[in-house]
Symmetry: C2
Subunit: 226 residues, 2 copies
DNA sequence: ACAAAAGTGTTTGAATTACACCCATGA
DNA sequence: TCATGGGTGTAATTCAAACACTTTTGT
């Protein structure tokens, strides 16, 4: 019989310097020496895939502050990597923008829209992660996973703009998230900037577990209004 | 080293008798003898998971008319099945409502809202498949995968109602799908029923590959209007 | 006072639901 | 001509984008 391995791979995304970035690791050895790949590794016999990906990120790249982890897809083409067959479960991982995890020397953050040459099918996985995040920002409360514990609406606007890849209006962002009950004011206010301006109120997300906040776009169940 | 197997499992859904049903197979042997399980089986060394699930459905339960197949998730708990470890990739499969595939004697269709005792984690997979379908009916053209090649709006309404689990209005269904360009008239009309009534126009889906038709619910990119 | 940044009020527009009404057919 | 669906017109509603305007601060 032929051998079979299972690995987990994570596209860890974070908003850094006002752009959405992914953590990649440069391969030292062939195959694909010099190319950039996703952190991850072999699945152990006593752990499920999510436990595994959290463990490996903590061990290998010191990413312990994952605010959200979710499965993306299985990549299983028989020749996706040379040598013995390896099936991969790919994950999306998110880190709040106020964290700056220690990462080893051979890893770097890259803007998801300007990836370096990637190993194997890892480039496709990054794009899949990016698209998943962008979709879910629209109909879930997933913003909590990118934002610090408390923030001003302007800061949140910058985070959403970076993640979505286009300018978002602070006004409308606040209204949409408030209407859905995602935001609550802390009561505190931030200090004004050096050039003046009204001090901004601080907010936090009401919930830090992912929830669908805008389920049915159309074909809603009949309303119960009498 | 410990052995590792990979299997694929499919929740095959179809609208039958105005309800959303799933194809299950009754286990003859322990473990979980008598319980109902999802069709599927071991992954071969030369095929990817989607190829495998299509092959196994064709071989084992004679389901060849799959109109749509997509990955749901990986189930990887170390003890999810007794004995040697098996990781499963679960799929959602859809069959148009006008097909009635030949299935073996030990398989039966069950309403997804009234499942029999299921084996292992298969019950959870069925519910995941049901929820995925219901979500995607709202923001993609996935209705094509449940509908016959041509249909009246009333027939389509019955299919959507069964799949979603609540009454859908034919009027609004037609308008939503038409506005999105999913439907086109064939020019033909169906014959009137035995009790009279205006003959219904026949429609078809313009596209039979899955496409997202209603991407951003909110936080849309800024409009380009001048 | 003035500039700068935050926050609110209000208009506009699009999408969807709800519902009344008209149309085509069989008996 | 009437019952039985099929199909269209249209109001009401909801939600979000756009933008003008007010508020609060630093200089």
């Amino acid at each position: 019989m032929s051998s079979l391995e299972h690995e987990v791979l994570a596209a860890v995304l974070q908003v850094r310097s006002r752009s959405l970035q992914v953590l990649l690791w440069q391969r030292a050895r062939d195959p694909h020496a010099g190319r950039w790949s996703l952190p991850g590794g072999k699945l152990r016999h006593d752990e499920d895939v999510e436990t595994s990906v959290r463990r490996q990120l903590a061990e290998k790249v010191d990413v312990r502050q994952l605010s959200h982890v979710e499965q993306l897809a299985v990549f299983s083409a028989p020749d996706r990597v040379p040598g013995p067959r390896v099936i991969a479960t790919a994950f999306l991982g998110l880190v709040p923008s106020d964290n700056d995890p220690e990462v080893p020397a051979d890893t770097r953050w890259f803007c998801v829209d300007a990836l370096p040459p990637t190993a194997f099918d890892h480039g496709a996985i990054v794009l899949r992660a990016r698209d998943r995040l962008r979709s879910k920002l629209s109909y879930t409360n997933l913003g909590f996973a990118l934002a610090p514990p408390t923030f001003t609406i302007s800061e949140l606007r910058d985070i959403y703009s970076a993640a979505l890849g286009y300018r978002v209006s602070a006004t409308n962002l606040q209204r949409v998230l408030s209407r859905r009950g995602q935001l609550e004011p802390t009561g505190e206010t931030a200090v004004s900037g050096p050039s003046g301006g009204r001090p901004a109120a601080l907010f936090r997300f009401t919930c830090r577990d992912m929830q669908v906040t805008d389920a049915f776009a159309v074909l809603r169940p009949p309303s119960l209004r009498k």
